[in-house]
């Protein structure tokens, strides 16, 4: 395998930049954002150079590696800090640094009034570094560092305005939910080490066929748990909506385009395990299926534009996860959808940010309306993203989502049918709620209560949105052209290893998809045509109520984990004081009591002392008496 000394700089540059910004303090206020953006751009440049270099090599030589140092080495447990850049990681590197850079640029303007802008950029750079480490690590343990690193960055960014208690709580919630996922990753690594004696991707892949399916299933399920945490999949999805507390660029970068897709990366990266663990794979499908519907349903009921988009993200990642569960070919489509989603969702989030920017940080769509004419560029780009996500050809989403639906049907049997219907249903609901968002925001009457008219955002914000829009138009076409991405990824995921029979001809699937999408749009248009949109309707169906409450996920968490947990803590506190500490105190008080009881023997009367002596002597004599009897 080729080595390259450049990889480390991909991570080191943003990491150092972040450290400098944090350590320099106020002194860096004036130039911090510029440096951060330059660093991000440099990382993109490096990534791009590597990509070009990679393309120029033959398929099997494309991966490059760099060993930095021995990280942990104890007995047979050896983990090097080494980086691996292969066809899969380069996709992510480009996405992360590319979208990242755009969002840096966007943020310069978006955050210009914030006193802590420097800190924001430090966090962003930290995120970039951690995310790159996540995708570049050559072993699960290295990945783990990046995995938690992005979690930390996400925590910091969600809680960027942590003086608001709700935001701080949201940050904490995200971290804790992620930690639950991390347990899965930890356990997966442990099982892997116990099974293979190694935790590097290459090492495990090499021996994977010797492992029993139980072990592989265990690893797979644990990895899935990890993915659920990070990618906000059922049942660990509840944090994502709250995570919208972070500044909008963060939502775009972390909670839409990159970090939340790490679960998809993880499963794709672990394809060699999942391919051998059908039960785990089935679970992946189930989780993906549930989440895509779950997210979509929630999306229909949200009035907060960011939360609606977040629900959408959840749903879209559900698609990707579902795709990864579909076997070798699915990985490629998952990655493709991941990339296209990265573009259009980032662009829509930034668009939403732009709207908020113009609307004095108002997020409630019911207070929007008719913004399109005040913010035409934003409306345009948002619209492009909209078309992409609902899968209208030739926009990016069409290519990727269509493939997933198609592959889902091709999974065969009842499974295929169920998955296919689920994905179709998802597509319909997606069309519905996205149309709803667009209508509520850009069309209809103006429902904001103040006189100031919304204004279009500055160029520094619009340019990144524009660039992303281009991506959302073109990326699907480019990536699927000649099955380019599929072939590109072939050495990593073997997408062409097996081939399913086609359940339906592709064109039929496409038509079905387009039909349901159209139905979705029509329902939305008919429902949100009226003027009575300023207030959310009160008497709504049970389903809507449920959707508004995130399908009771928070309530479930509270009643199943939080409340019992709190009760448990209270009880343990009591037990500790009453029982454990109580025992210790009891020993003390028993001694004291015994002491004072025995003390009363010493009553001051010499006669009773003499009696005590007689009794003592009597006891001794009695002992002899017994012994000699």
């Amino acid at each position: 395998m080729q080595t390259s000394a450049n990889l480390v700089w991909l991570i080191a540059l943003p990491l150092f930049s972040s450290a400098i910004l944090l350590l320099a303090g106020k002194r860096a206020n004036s130039w911090g954002h510029v440096m951060a953006t330059i660093v991000s751009a440099s990382a993109f440049t490096i990534g791009f150079v590597e990509f070009i270099a990679m393309q120029s090599r033959a398929d099997e030589n494309r991966a490059v590696a760099q060993k930095l140092f021995t990280w942990i080495s104890v007995g047979s447990f050896n983990v090097d800090a080494s980086l691996l850049l292969d066809q899969l990681s380069i996709c992510f590197v480009l996405l992360i640094t590319g979208v990242g850079t755009l969002i840096h640029i966007y943020s310069i303007a978006y955050m210009s009034h914030d006193l802590d802008r420097r800190r924001f950029f430090a966090y962003l750079n930290l995120f970039i570094a951690a995310m790159l480490l996540l995708v570049l690590g050559d072993s699960y343990l290295n990945l783990y560092v990046g995995w938690e690193g992005v979690g930390l960055a996400s925590y910091l960014l969600i809680g960027f305005w942590n003086q608001k208690p709700a935001y701080a709580t949201a940050a904490k919630k995200a971290f804790v939910a992620n930690r639950v996922g991390d347990v899965g990753l930890s356990l997966a690594i442990m099982i892997a080490f116990a099974t293979f004696g190694d935790v590097s991707f290459a090492g495990i892949k090499e021996h994977v066929e010797h492992a029993s399916s139980t072990q592989l299933t265990a690893i797979g399920l644990m990895l899935l748990l990890a993915a659920c945490g990070k990618s906000a999949q059922f049942p660990l999805q509840s944090w994502l909506g709250d995570a919208m507390a972070g500044p909008t660029p963060v939502s775009a970068l972390i909670h839409a385009a990159t970090m939340v897709t790490a679960g998809v990366y993880l499963i794709t990266r672990s394809n060699f395990i999942f391919d051998e663990a059908p039960i785990a794979q089935l679970m992946v499908l189930i989780v993906g299926g549930i989440t895509l519907l779950f997210g979509a349903i929630i999306g229909t009921a949200k009035d907060d534009i960011k939360k609606a988009l977040a629900a959408s993200t959840m749903s879209q990642i559900g698609y990707m996860i579902l795709a990864t569960g579909l076997g070798p070919i699915g990985y490629a489509f998952a990655i493709m959808h991941l990339l296209t989603h990265g573009f259009f969702k980032a662009s829509m989030f930034l668009g939403a940010g732009s709207v908020m920017h113009g609307m004095k940080d108002e997020v409630n769509m019911r207070k929007y309306g008719g913004i399109g004419k005040f913010m035409p560029i934003t409306a345009l780009t948002f619209g492009l993203g909209y078309l992409a996500i609902i899968g209208v050809p030739p926009f990016a989403g069409f290519y990727s989502k269509d493939k997933i639906i198609e592959t889902a049907f091709n999974a065969g049997g009842m499974k295929g049918l169920a998955l296919g219907i689920a994905t179709l249903l998802g597509a319909m609901i997606t069309a519905f709620y996205m149309t709803r968002v667009v209508i509520l925001t850009f069309f209809g009457n103006e429902r904001w209560g103040h006189k100031d008219e919304p204004h279009e955002s500055p160029a520094l914000m619009l340019i990144p949105i524009g660039l992303l829009s281009i991506g959302s138009i073109a990326s699907g076409f480019i990536l699927s052209k000649g099955e380019g991405l599929v072939h590109w990824l072939e050495p990593v995921v073997n997408p062409l290893k097996e081939h399913h029979d086609e359940f339906l001809p592709p064109i039929v699937v496409s038509l079905m998809t387009l039909t349901v999408v159209a139905i979705g749009i029509l329902i939305a248009v008919s429902k949100y045509r009226g003027d009575q949109l300023a207030q959310a309707p009160e008497n709504v169906s049970v389903l809507t109520k449920a959707a508004r409450r995130d399908l009771f996920q928070d309530d479930l968490n509270e009643s199943v984990f939080m409340h019992p947990g709190q009760t448990l803590v209270r009880n343990i506190l009591n037990i500790d004081y009453l029982v454990l500490d109580g025992l210790v105190r009891a020993v003390g008080s028993v001694s004291l009591t015994a002491g004072s009881r025995l003390r009363s023997l010493q009553n001051g009367y010499v006669r009773s002392y003499a009696l005590l002596m007689i009794i003592g002597a009597l006891a001794l004599i009695a002992a002899i008496w017994v012994v000699t009897a």
Binding site: R599, Y605, L611
Partner: protein
Amino acid sequence: MAIANYLYLSAILFTIGAVGVVIRRNAIVVFMCIELMLNAANLAFVTFARINGNLQGQVVAFFTMVVAACEVVVGLAIIVTIYRSRRSISVDDASLLKR
């Protein structure tokens, strides 16, 4: 008659002396009971001397008498002192030191 009878007598007198110390309150009587115990021991010594056929037991008994005499002097001096301070020779009254 068995010589052991003297031993029984000795044991009984010793016990009477020992219990007398416990149930009498007059310090002097208490002290006399102790003397009784010493006498009981002496009787045992004399008896054992006879059994063993040597005079060591009698020697001890002799010493005991001397020692007892000294003890009596000291003891009575203490009792008198107490009496002079407290106007009482009840051992129960001397019970301030306790617990």
